[in-house]
Symmetry: C2
Subunit: 449 residues, 2 copies
Amino acid sequence: MKQRVLASEANKHIGKTIKIAGWVRIRRDHGKLIFLDVRDRSGIIQVVVNPTVSEASYKAAQKLKPEYVVEIEGKVNERPGKAANTNLESGNVELEATDIKVIAKADTLPFDMGSDELNLELPTLLDHRALTLRHPKIQAIFKVQAVIIDAFREYLKGEGFMEFQAPSIAPAVAEGGAEVFEVSYFDHKAYLTQSPQLYKQIVMSAFERVFSVNKIFRAEPSVTTRHLAEVVSLDAEMAFIDSWEDVRDMAENTVRFILERVEKKCKKELSLFKTTLPVMIDKTPSISLSQAQEKIFKHFKRDVRGQKDLNPEDEREICEIIKEESGSDFVFIYGYHTRNKPFYVYPNPKNPEFNEGMDLLCRGLEWLSGGRRINDYNQLMEHVKLWKMDPAKISMFLEAFRFGVPPEGGFAFGAERMTMQILSLSNVREASIFPRDMERVDEKFSAKQ
Amino acid sequence: MKQRVLASEANKHIGKTIKIAGWVRIRRDHGKLIFLDVRDRSGIIQVVVNPTVSEASYKAAQKLKPEYVVEIEGKVNERPGKAANTNLESGNVELEATDIKVIAKADTLPFDMGSDELNLELPTLLDHRALTLRHPKIQAIFKVQAVIIDAFREYLKGEGFMEFQAPSIAPAVAEGGAEVFEVSYFDHKAYLTQSPQLYKQIVMSAFERVFSVNKIFRAEPSVTTRHLAEVVSLDAEMAFIDSWEDVRDMAENTVRFILERVEKKCKKELSLFKTTLPVMIDKTPSISLSQAQEKIFKHFKRDVRGQKDLNPEDEREICEIIKEESGSDFVFIYGYHTRNKPFYVYPNPKNPEFNEGMDLLCRGLEWLSGGRRINDYNQLMEHVKLWKMDPAKISMFLEAFRFGVPPEGGFAFGAERMTMQILSLSNVREASIFPRDMERVDEKFSAKQ
């Protein structure tokens, strides 16, 4: 649109006449004046409509309803200090309307969209996704998510990682049988990928350092606040490591970079959620599973020593302890039980019962998983047997390792879950623009029957 | 790996001892000397192994085979002008080995990987994807593809577009019935998305300018050199346009930016393919479908006037004509028959039989499609009826337009096809890292039976 000025740029034109375009967010009639909040992609600007300035504009404004699309010409006036709204992009100015054109009308909204909070139950929020995406607080979620994903890519590109496109359709179920979606694939069966793990290891074996932003699909028949059927997975894999700590450090630096970028680029969005970013100290503490269990025992007198994994309560408690000890909201846990984890995870050579896999926890929740992988073909084949894998189903993966692969490892995390955790959302569905779960793909299934 | 120097950086260390690590690409025994080409993620460096310098290294080198992973210490020597290899990253230096360690061994290769060209039939190339991905010319394809995708994102971010994650699972088949993959989705049926079109229009209706890099799935039961079952789609959509030409110009500028980035960042890769980038002149010519048909008639005496679309021969010929007329390898074709295109394409208000959709052709092939869309709810509903769509299946999409959407449009193209066309590959499967088609998901189906 020619000569249109964005809301966020209006304060660069004080005293001048400009044209804005956007959606009417709120109309407030104040005696002789009408105030409009107009939203565009950059933010919100206040428009004041004064009949003594433009009678025609006043008449037009009287008919405006929420979500009407308008084009408004007017003069940019500074707002006196007290009247300035620091929550708006151009909060120190307002537009005095001289011409208002309606570009598109809107039906009456099914609920109020004009408050700071969109007080809807989750099903309603999602049933009306096309509309609720227009609320500034909902928009903030996906702006933050875009920054998270972009920062992930930016950091790894800077570290010499190459982006690749992991496939979504897989020929067979390599790991975990039940929780996979089957696809009618021409005359065959195929499956949606649960993880790009084996593919990223293949691509790593050729390109050394690779990352991927891709979909993964989980058919877990459970409805929790933390699970989605379709997830945006951020995956990285790197060769020529000296030890699993190289992978851990790369993961830590990636998360650190993401947090820095979110802090820098999403001030407004974070403030809407009244949330502060978790503290990542200079060197995030790393402790083994058994050390974590000892700490929990000492501190909370709860004995989980010898358990094969941390349960949610353990995760909360260990994060609490580490926060107290070091000030860090993050902690790496490594040294899980080898037989409790996938076949490709590297066993600790000194104590092969435990492996060199790791998780990054923050404020009681898992943010990221990864670790060193087996790179030696013979060792890999031993694990394939022990784990009772069918080598035919992973033959392309195994071929990569038949032809020389250096020590390597990688990590992965879900974009929605990280978005949820950064913004302290209560349900991961809020962090997925079109969430898919057992009960819903766009509409709830029950609504269709 | 500590203190490792990448092949491409070796020439910054002339006269010094460094450590490199990578894969043995070629071993050449020349009398008393052994030469190695060692490949890492940055490129290839030549190593010379001289028994008078290091007897142990010489013995180790004698046992090296292609794709062994090695760590080599040695002194960086300048190669005399004549001996320099300008095709290598560090072609003006070589490493004189003082220590060679084998990190991982490799089986004997099933075919020669040491030539500049990997002379394999496509099925063999894909059957051994894990291995063939290590060939420099195959790697070049995916490096170029990563640059294309990244440039797409970079350009649009600069223009105020927000990235969003389009879903892969859809609840119903909105357009074109037969060519869609069905998914067993818990107790329901769902489908893989053929296009994010309706989702990107929904997201545009909230965020104005959006783009997405996402998978689309096509179950076309045909095996051609130009079709894949799983495609990386680059999609953009923008609101507040004045006319379809705004969309066209954004598409042109996006492609121009991508070409510039590929030219700048992929010199080495382009040279491997002995290809030159297509010429995009200052303003790419735009002609209507009927003008194109007239030109073909005039120039080639072939009468396709009145046909509803361009066929492949027409596309080749119109590109030839435009090239001759203007020097441009690109041409936009607009003004297709309204009823021949999807329901959401905007009809020309002066002549509604023709629409404001467009294609960008280059060197005889379609690169990109897009155009203006209908933004008025009532007009959209008329088309829904005329096209015999089921409104219930697109209710979320329709809701977006019930609540006010400005004039808008967008465009999309496939990353693999653009990669193929830029590198003049003969088959789009070469441009997909793990291509899926009717006959293959990783392995050929016939191989499994």
